[in-house]
């Protein structure tokens, strides 16, 4: 069973990372996060769309709409990472590494008695 990610920075980082390889649409991204994390992580669509729109607004990604179906009621929106998006990804990765290191330091400095 996978754990749903709610941390927006983590989702942002994973989205930008996946988009570095190829243009993807939202459902693609959801599936890739789940499969590439070996089913440890998952992102709900509801959490993903606002992040994609925010990244688009900030110019970190661009979108391309493709209509699917005859009645034009359904679209597939492909997202593409921009140069500033790649820079932002690097910042997110650095920030995440610092957080991970900080958490590890806290755990290493705490004795078993303190935790219990």
């Amino acid at each position: 069973m996978s754990s749903t990610i709610y941390d927006k920075n983590i989702i942002e980082m994973l989205v930008l990372f996946l988009l570095c390889k190829e243009d993807l649409y939202a459902y693609n991204i959801m599936k890739l996060i789940q499969s590439m994390s070996h089913d440890i992580l998952s992102v709900q669509g509801g959490s993903l769309y606002p992040i994609l729109y925010k990244l688009t607004e900030k110019g970190y990604i661009t979108d391309r709409v493709e209509v699917i179906g005859k009645r034009q009621r359904m679209t597939r929106v492909y997202y593409h990472i921009t140069e500033s998006g790649k820079n932002h990804l690097q910042e997110l990765i650095d920030n995440n590494n610092r957080i991970q290191l900080g958490i590890r330091n806290v755990f290493e400095n705490a004795s078993v008695e303190e935790i219990q």
């Binding site: 649409y25 669509g45 769309y49 679209t75």
Partner: protein, 133 residues
């Protein structure tokens, strides 16, 4: 798409009416497309599965409004307020104009009455009244 799935989209659509129509229609179209892709891979999926993967309507709307309450959302609220204020102002002006018109009409009728009285010989203060009328 199945009826219960349509209800899912309608529910989201209804609660997103706070944000500009163009934005939420675009979002619903994208969501529909992604759910269609999901259903293509999982033809036996039910509404519970959709809600598990994409979120319940409440979750979707909640996440959307929390994040997209950016400038665009605030702008749209401001626009709505401006429209509301303009509508109230126009209504007030219309009411004042209508009141002026009514008072004017009453005054005109009153004058007509006086002239009638003058014509009937009840008022001799204005000897021209009969002639001008």
């Amino acid at each position: 798409m199945r009826k219960d799935f349509e209800k899912y989209f309608r529910e989201i659509d209804k609660h997103l009416s706070l944000i500009p129509k163009r934005d939420h229609k675009t979002f619903i179209k994208e969501l529909r497309g992604n759910v269609a892709d999901y259903l293509e891979e999982n033809p036996t999926a039910c509404l519970d599965d959709i809600e598990l993967v994409f979120g319940t309507p409440a979750q979707v709307v909640d996440e959307f409004l929390v994040d997209v309450k950016s400038q665009r959302f605030l702008d749209s609220l401001n626009r709505k307020n401006i429209i509301r204020i303009m509508a109230v102002t126009i209504a007030l002006i219309a009411t004042v104009l209508a009141a002026i018109f009514v008072v004017d009409t009453i005054n005109f009728n009153h004058g007509y009455g006086m002239n009638s009285n003058a014509q009937a010989g009840h008022s001799a203060t204005d000897p021209n009244a009969i002639e001008t009328y």
